[in-house]
Amino acid sequence: MTLLSVRNLRVSFDTEAGLVEAVRGVSFDLGRERLGIVGESGSGKTMTGRSVLRLIRPPGKIEADAMHFDGADLMAASEAEMRALRGRRMAMVMQDPKYSLNPVMNVGAQLTEGLRQRDRLSAGDARRKAIDALEAVQIRDPERVLSAYPHELSGGMGQRVMIAMMLIPSPDLLIADEPTSALDVTVQAEVLSILDGLVRDRGMGLIFISHDLRLVARFCDRVLVMYKGRVVEELAARDLMQARHPYTQGLLNCLPRIGGSRGPLPGLDRNAEWAR
């Protein structure tokens, strides 16, 4: 069943230095599954995620032949309709907790703001929901974290707070932009299993944006590989090691391996043809 369908998505920025095309004709369908989008910085993966929520400010411009989420036409929806979808039906975990949490509001106020404003919950009920959400992302001391300010949290803690915040309204679609890049491997495994549980138990659709190819291969069902705003290869995650496209192969080959050769790592070839 298709939850999200995107056809020929284009994102461009009309800057002083000329037109910058960040995303150039991306199409994909998402069911209730885990879709990975991988690529290097500047490949357009984050912009693809943000356009689904229409979170691109002018001078950025989103164009698409079609973009539908569970029956709603995202290209035709008004700002008010989009606001009703964002958070409640589809949410995004941003990359960097340092910049994405409000630095002058404590975590409790940020977590309960939506519950109080949108769902009109009482302060006590909102607080209880916030504590449940923090426990769900394996924060051991939720009371302390609620009264903490973002600068008092480590990167991994901040990232889990953001995930908790996005999961409170139980969205049908979660877009997670590098949700585990600030975490060490052991905590990373915990966060992935939380996301995995949500896809499996609640039938959530997940778009997992990452530059870590091997992580995506292990965690996702399907992978889109992006290069300069285009999808150069789409494949089942378990087949990633047998990737056909030279760019995907190059991305894999330049990674060091445990027990691998200690000679120089191969560089990444880039071919302007692939971006056409």
């Binding site: 060091p256 445990i258 191969p266």
Partner: protein
């Protein structure tokens, strides 16, 4: 080259004692490359910071080439030991040109021939000499990390302390930076003490590895232990299992 005996680093924060490092000992031979791994807060970066004087040595001793380090560290120390930091966006002064970043250590140490040395340093790390009068914001992350490495090498030290030098970089840029570090180590006979949370990076770069947890040393491994999964402690094994995709 580097000997650390029973090192403790204790901070006072909000009327609490934070024991960042407790009783860690290690010894690194000249030209060896040694890795520290562990989760955030395990004290691995603090050890690097204690070596170069950015964190206090509360107990124990650090010796470089047999001599205990002085507090403050002094010029002789900075000629011998230099550090490369994790985030190339935060570790270069935003309003200093690359030229100024690279020539400052020479000026402080009264070394002449600045012009030629700066050009040479840029060439050594594979940057075009036309970058000399640019500012950090005009460079990409990988290029900035090259500048940070060039800066660390200006005084021709014997030891480089590397704190997650590639974790902020893309895979292909990481490969280029690791290749650069390996080449420089080979050419100049450098000793590396390197921190990373990526076991594959550590395995690629280091001969021996110390696994840390909660400020303590858990287990020392060599490359064979890692490849054959013959670690003795449960913690080292769980760290390895969580990184199993790094074997692919």
């Amino acid at each position: 080259m580097i000997e650390i005996d029973n090192l403790s680093v204790i901070f006072h924060a909000n009327h609490r004692l934070v024991r960042a490092v407790e009783g860690v000992s290690l010894s690194i031979a000249a030209r060896e490359s040694f890795g520290l791994v562990g989760e955030s807060g395990s004290g691995k970066s603090t050890i690097l910071r204690a070596v170069c004087g950015l964190a206090p040595i509360t107990g124990g001793q650090i010796r470089i080439a047999g001599e205990p380090v002085l507090t403050p560290r002094g010029r002789a120390f900075s000629r011998r030991v230099q550090m490369v930091f994790q985030d190339p966006y935060a570790s270069l002064h935003p309003r200093h040109t690359i030229d100024r970043v690279l020539s400052e250590p020479l000026a402080i140490h009264g070394i002449g021939d600045t012009d030629r040395k700066v050009m040479r340093a840029l060439e050594d790390v594979g940057l075009p000499t036309s970058f000399r009068f640019r500012y950090p914001h005009q460079l990409s992350g990988g290029q900035r990390q090259r500048v940070a490495i060039a800066r660390a090498l200006m005084l021709e030290p014997a030891v480089l302390l590397l704190d997650e030098p590639t974790s902020a970089l893309d895979a292909s840029v990481q490969a280029e930076t690791l290749n650069l570090l390996s080449r420089l180590r080979e050419e100049r006979g450098l000793t590396f003490l390197m921190v990373s949370h990526d076991l594959a990076v550590i395995d690629h770069m280091c001969d021996r590895i110390l696994v840390m947890q909660h400020g303590r040393a858990v287990e020392e491994l060599d490359r064979a232990d890692l490849v054959n999964v013959t670690m003795k402690t449960d913690y080292a094994r769980s760290l390895f299992n969580a990184s199993a995709d790094r074997m692919l």
